[in-house]
């Protein structure tokens, strides 16, 4: 599927595709209408008071200052508490995904207590199922926010927060870090792929295996560059270089629609530019620039990585 990097409404709380977002949308609409009426009413009263000759009575202050707010509060608290309870309710058979925020990328582990399938920066979700997102952080406070699907939740180092979501609409959506986390906070985004439930199960079974690595002999050069340049110190590729967790897992990197945590389209050219000069594209990123690699080396390496689907 095409990236939704520049797609209208891909990251909008008003274009809902999840249970939480839909509940909030209804609440928002209700509040906007109700408070809109209140606002117009109060402004009309101001105009009335300033232009007409009727002096006020105490009951104005009573109704406007006490009764109206109290009624509004009661209704609002009831509506919002019900919505909140329904949004935070999880189910016993909820699917768990653990997401750890880093400066400035997302470490994603599907079924962390079971198969523990690791990926990064793109999140696949089954439509119609309840999902518990276990949110953590390795450094500073981040926040996971997919406006179309649900409200946000902070990722705070030292604790685990759980965000329960229910995507309803298959499609591709965009999310972004919503807590200021440093130099490249604006460039810490991600895309979410919501698949129909059976398709998701198939995808999960397919992705847990080893890398579909070097299908063509030309790509072996690239794999060699990967190993020689020391990339495996930070990046894991299942079946090629295991164990490293300092950087994103690259097993399926070629399959992602975007690069650099949702910021650029995934293609060989962008990948080569990223490897050579990541600090220019994403200031503050932990990955060093590999501009000492030669042109052919970069070409081979990026061709290899983009083939890992």
């Amino acid at each position: 599927m095409e990236s939704v990097l520049n797609t209208f409404n891909a990251q909008s709380a008003l274009a809902t595709a999840g249970g939480g977002a839909a509940a909030v949308f209804d609440l928002t609409l209700g509040m906007v209408i109700a408070f809109g009426v209140v606002f117009v009413g109060v402004m009309a009263l101001v105009w009335f008071a300033a232009t007409r000759d009727t002096p006020a009575k105490t009951w104005w202050v009573w109704s406007g200052g006490i009764i109206l707010p109290l009624v509004a509060i009661a209704v609002l608290l009831f509506a919002s508490t019900s919505a909140l309870l329904s949004m935070t309710r999880t189910t016993d058979d909820a699917f768990t995904i653990e997401i750890t925020g880093n400066q400035f990328w997302w470490d994603v582990v599907y079924d962390p207590d079971g198969a523990a399938i690791r990926d990064a920066n793109e999140i696949f979700l089954p439509a119609g199922r309840t999902i518990d997102l276990r949110l953590k952080s390795n450094d500073v406070i981040h926040s996971l926010w997919i406006p179309s699907i649900s409200g946000k939740m902070d990722m705070i180092p030292g604790r685990t927060n759980v965000l329960t979501i229910t995507p309803t609409q298959p499609g591709r959506y965009r999310g972004q870090c919503a807590e200021f986390c440093g130099l490249s906070h604006p460039k810490m985004a991600f895309e979410v792929v919501v698949l129909p439930a059976e398709d998701f199960d198939a995808w999960l079974a397919d992705t847990r295996g080893e890398a579909r690595d070097a299908a063509m002999p030309e790509l072996l050069d690239g794999r060699q560059v990967f190993l020689d340049a020391g990339c495996a110190a930070c990046h894991a590729i299942r079946g090629v270089a295991e164990g490293a967790r300092l950087g994103p897992d690259l097993t399926r990197i070629g399959a992602r629609a975007t690069l650099g945590a949702g910021m650029w389209r995934m293609n060989q050219g962008n990948l080569a530019g990223w490897i050579a000069d990541v600090s220019d594209m994403k200031p503050g990123a932990q990955m060093p620039d590999y501009n000492h690699l030669s042109g052919p080396q970069l070409r081979a390496l990026s061709a290899y990585l983009v083939s890992l689907k």
């Binding site: 006490i66 509060i73 508490t81």
Partner: protein, 105 residues
Amino acid sequence: MTRAIRPALIWALHFVAIYALISAACAPRQLMDVDVMRATASLITLGGAILVLFWLLSAGRAARQTAGDTTDVVIARITWWCALISLCAITLNLAPIAFLGTCTG
């Protein structure tokens, strides 16, 4: 004049108590059982509300005593409105505890 502030002071004490109770029941140290906490909170709220209500009624009586704008009457009126707002706030502070059975809803 301190009379006028008393209801708000009760609100402040009540709020600190409610916040402390919720922390005691819902924080990792788990100092208190949730049901015990809810019962305690309800009792404290009842006590505070009754006290503020009493002040509300006596201030209302004092405000009605003499018409006009003497210092005592104005202070009584101020007290009455402080007490009313404080009473609403105290009651509202209990609402989450009253309607939610556990820390997580």
